[in-house]
């Protein structure tokens, strides 16, 4: 269901078959691990068994002597990076830390940290060789939890990390695990709370969780005799992968070509590189192409996760249900190196509401876990869990309807956020209204131990840079080349925008994702940006084609091009002359060469996306197990280009959020070893755990996009933990403030209440 005006587009809003569908359904699509090169070696990465240890020495001689071993690498093979800060598209990265994460230097900072790698004729030989590498470790005490790591006497991970604030370090600051502090204020928070009739202040914790993409990381690299390096890999961003690889192995960016293979999920976790620099060094040393595929355990132990957190949120409201003040103190686990999404966490905690006075303080803290990475609306899910359960508690105490409270206090155009800027046109309230008016919310929920909860979430959505090239073919089709790797069907969404602008069918566009030598710079497939920003580039390209097609028609008709116009998929000239797009395409060579349009986007920034969710749960009070009975998500998609894939993003995000809410977590033992690095014990939802996910697409067009697109990929993961926590409270009367809300915790809470 789409709200808003009636259909004004021919292609946008329809559901064409995705262009890459048949390849993916028949097993023909080539993912990263599917490439086969002549003479290809197989690489294995040896990983630290310790969560925190000095590496005193590495002896690779026995491994090198094993027949079939072709190359071995350690951090000694990588150039020194000192402390350079490099912009890598999505943000600034300390190259020394990135390098040390790819291959541990003098210290292993988490269990699973790469310490050496081997390339051999077969994967089995490489595995045997890796076991022969002797490493002398001096184990150090690990620190696994964010508040513990902030203490002065905590084991120190990185001696080059000192707390920065607004990018600068105070001179007297000592090295610590606290890498950064953020502070945002709006108005006078003390005065704000003084106006409150009710104040709720609660503490929350969330566990470390993983993106859980099904395809492990992989890279296949050929370091050719001419010094040119080709990388075939699954990545969310070929250009950032290219830059990271070049910087880490110390060659010119232009000497690296990244060829995007199909990618088996990313969710933010396939932006940082792990394997390409390692495979590149192994290829350079062996003179052969090297393929490395991570094992699933390494994917959990050494990639991914999104931070565990500690949060304190305080909200004040008046008796008549108006929020007057908010305060939050948030600490995120960065993992081994700085860089958690603490800043967006701080900026999102109060982002759904119009709060006059607010203050948010946040900390980025290193612990002995894998370096954290982006995961779908990074930082926003944690804080939504905290804020939205506090809001629910206020609604409960005031006896007001949770939807009406959100409508009354919701952020809208003109609302100033705690981080300062004022919202443009957004659809927060519209999503709450859509839930309030839904059959689900209006229906009666009956039965014991059942409850309903709602929650709202926000994500900024990124703009960033994209490029496309489109070529008109003589048969009236258009070949579309883009740089955005396609994780979820975005090729079709981009093709549809080109098709809409040209007035041709989606099927007449043939999209493909090109390597870094074949298309202009394009930022990552992340930040919910592809349909928005690459879409803008495609619209630009289409407009350029329109212009050239008008010129060609003018030449064919021998008229002034000013008398020709492009309208509704047709080129129309004087005296009722007209060509359909296909008719004209067949004739373009009569008066010129290829018609090629190109488009880039770089300055457009999105207005942000909101979603409101409604969930019914049933709690087994004897075991603490929570079953999801019914789930509805309403989300502002701006304009839904391909509704099926918009719904798909919403449904997928919700189910990831359900996993985060109920069962997903890293279990560490006291030595800092993850005990559940398998899909058996890291429990992502199966289809038997969830119901159908009902979707309501709300359309409040984003004025920053020609068709009003808002990115839809990330925000659906934000509300589920809070919505489920609120539903659990409605079902059995307990407030869960610790993720995941796994059966033992819910059971204990229910028993305690009894």
């Amino acid at each position: 269901m789409a709200t808003g005006e009636k259909r004004k587009y021919k292609v946008i809003g329809t559901r064409p078959l995705r262009h890459d569908g048949v390849d993916k359904l028949t097993g023909r699509a080539q993912y990263g691990a599917d490439i086969r090169l002549t003479g290809m070696l197989h690489g294995v990465v040896l990983r630290s068994p310790h969560a925190h240890a000095k590496i005193k020495s590495i002896d690779t001689s026995a491994a090198a002597a094993l027949p079939g071993v072709r190359a071995i690498c350690t951090s000694a093979d990588f150039p020194d990076q000192v402390g350079r800060i490099v912009e890598l598209g999505e943000g600034a990265v300390n190259m020394r830390h990135l390098s040390a994460n790819v291959m541990a230097h003098d210290k292993a900072l988490y269990k699973g940290h790469a310490v050496a790698a081997v390339a051999a004729d077969s994967i089995h030989i490489a595995e045997e060789a890796a076991k022969l590498i002797k490493i002398d470790y001096e184990p150090l005490p690990p620190v696994m939890e964010v508040l513990g790591a902030m203490r002065d006497d905590a084991p120190l991970l990185n001696d080059d990390v000192r707390m920065t604030e607004m990018g600068t370090v105070k001179p007297e600051t000592k090295p610590s695990n606290v890498a950064a502090k953020f502070l945002f204020t709006k108005g006078d928070v003390t005065a704000g709370f003084a106006k409150a009739d009710i104040i709720i202040e609660r503490e929350f914790r969330t566990a470390t969780v993983h993106q859980g993409y099904i395809e492990p990381h992989n890279a296949t690299v050929l370091w050719n005799a001419d010094g040119k390096v080709t990388v075939w890999m699954s990545t969310q961003g070929t250009f950032t992968a290219r830059q990271q690889t070049a910087e880490l192995v110390g060659i010119a960016v232009s000497d690296v070509k990244v060829v995007p293979m199909e990618i088996g999920g990313g969710f933010g976790g396939k932006i940082s590189v792990y394997l390409p620099p390692v495979a590149a060094i192994l290829s350079r040393k062996s003179g052969k192409p090297v393929q490395i595929q991570m094992e699933r355990a390494a994917v959990f132990e050494a990639t991914g996760p999104t931070p565990g957190s500690f949060m304190r949120v305080k909200v004040g409201a008046t008796r008549d249900g108006k929020i007057v003040a908010g305060e939050a103190w948030i600490a995120f686990e960065a993992g081994a190196f700085p860089g958690s999404p603490i800043a967006p966490g701080c900026m999102c905690v109060f982002s759904c509401y119009d709060i006059p006075d607010a203050r948010v303080e946040g900390y980025d803290v290193c612990v002995n876990k894998p370096r954290s990475n982006a995961y779908r609306a990074p930082g926003s899910t944690q804080v939504a869990f905290a804020m939205e359960t506090v809001v629910d508690e206020i609604c409960e105490k005031l006896g007001v309807d949770a939807a009406e409270f959100r409508i009354k206090n919701g952020a809208k155009e003109g609302t100033r956020r705690v981080d300062g800027p004022v919202y443009h046109r957004i659809g927060m309230i519209e999503t709450v209204e859509a839930i309030r008016d839904s059959e689900h919310y209006q229906s009666k929920l009956t039965g014991p131990n059942r409850g309903r909860g709602i929650a709202t979430g926000f994500w900024f959505n990124a703009g960033l840079k994209s490029a496309v090239v489109a070529t008109v073919n003589l048969d009236g089709t258009v070949s579309l080349i883009e740089g955005s790797t396609d994780i979820g069907g975005s090729r079709t969404g981009i093709a549809m925008q080109l098709a809409e602008t040209l007035g041709i069918a989606a099927e007449a566009v043939k999209p493909q994702v090109a390597d870094t030598d074949s298309i202009g710079y394009t930022d990552v497939t992340g930040g919910s940006r592809v349909t928005f920003a690459t879409g803008i580039a495609a619209v630009e390209a289409a407009k350029e084609i329109q212009k050239q097609m008008v010129e060609r028609a003018a030449l064919l008709w021998e008229v002034d091009s000013a008398s020709v116009k492009y309208e509704d998929g047709k080129v129309i000239g004087p005296a009722e002359k007209s060509f359909s797009f296909a008719e004209l395409a067949a004739k373009i060579h009569e008066v010129g060469g290829a018609v090629i349009g190109h488009g880039t986007s770089s300055s457009a920034e999105q207005g942000g996306a909101f979603g409101t969710h409604c969930v019914d749960v049933e709690v087994d009070p004897d075991t603490g197990k929570v079953q999801i009975l019914r789930y509805t998500i309403a989300q502002d998609a701006g304009t839904a280009i391909h509704p099926s894939y918009v719904e798909g993003q919403m449904q997928g995000g919700v189910v990831q959020g359900i996993g985060w809410a109920l069962n997903e977590e890293y279990f560490y033992d006291d030595k800092g070893v993850m005990r559940n690095a398998t899909f058996l014990d890291y429990r992502i939802p199966t289809c038997y755990d969830v119901p159908m996910i009902e979707t309501i697409i709300v359309e409040v067009p984003d004025p920053a996009h020609p068709y009003g697109v808002r990115g839809v990929g990330e925000v659906p993961i934000c509300p589920p933990p809070a919505a489920i926590a609120n539903a659990i409270h409605a079902a059995v009367g307990v407030r869960m403030r610790d993720l995941p809300m796994s059966p033992p915790k819910v059971c204990a809470a229910v028993m305690q209440k009894k």
């Binding site: 800060i85 490099v86 912009e87 598209g89 999505e90 943000g91 600034a92 604030e165 607004m166 990018g167 600068t168 502090k181 953020f182 502070l183 945002f184 204020t185 993106q211 990313g266 969710f267 933010g268 976790g269 932006i271 800043a343 967006p344 900026m347 982006a374 995961y375 779908r376 609306a377 990074p378 981080d419 300062g420 800027p421 004022v422 919202y423 443009h424 994500w459 900024f460 959505n461 990124a462 703009g463 960033l464 840079k465 990552v524 992340g526 930040g527 919910s528 940006r529 770089s602 300055s603 920034e605 920053a704 990929g713 990330e714």
Partner: protein, 87 residues
């Protein structure tokens, strides 16, 4: 005149004041205008004639990737914020 929002961590430079007014048609020009009144502000926000890594500027609610060159209309609001990516 454009209004510049001073990040809380830098308000010691403005005597605790949250917003200041600065003349100029770009972010750079506005900072140049502010520097004599609030010495050290530019150094806190910029390095090598560019915004510090990890910082972004938002003009009237829209994040910009153009850094110091970002145009600033009259009566605009200027915010300095952490750069954001996404998953």
């Amino acid at each position: 005149m454009p209004t510049v929002y001073i990040p809380p961590a830098l308000r010691d430079l403005t005597g605790g004041v949250e917003t200041v007014e600065g003349k100029g048609q770009t972010v750079r020009a506005v900072l140049v205008d502010l520097e004599p009144r609030y010495p050290g502000l530019t150094a806190k926000l910029c390095i090598d004639d560019a915004l510090r890594p990890g910082l972004m500027v938002a003009v009237s609610g829209t994040m910009s990737r153009q850094g110091l060159r970002t145009p600033v209309p009259a009566n605009a609001e200027v915010h300095f914020l952490p750069a954001l990516g996404g998953g």
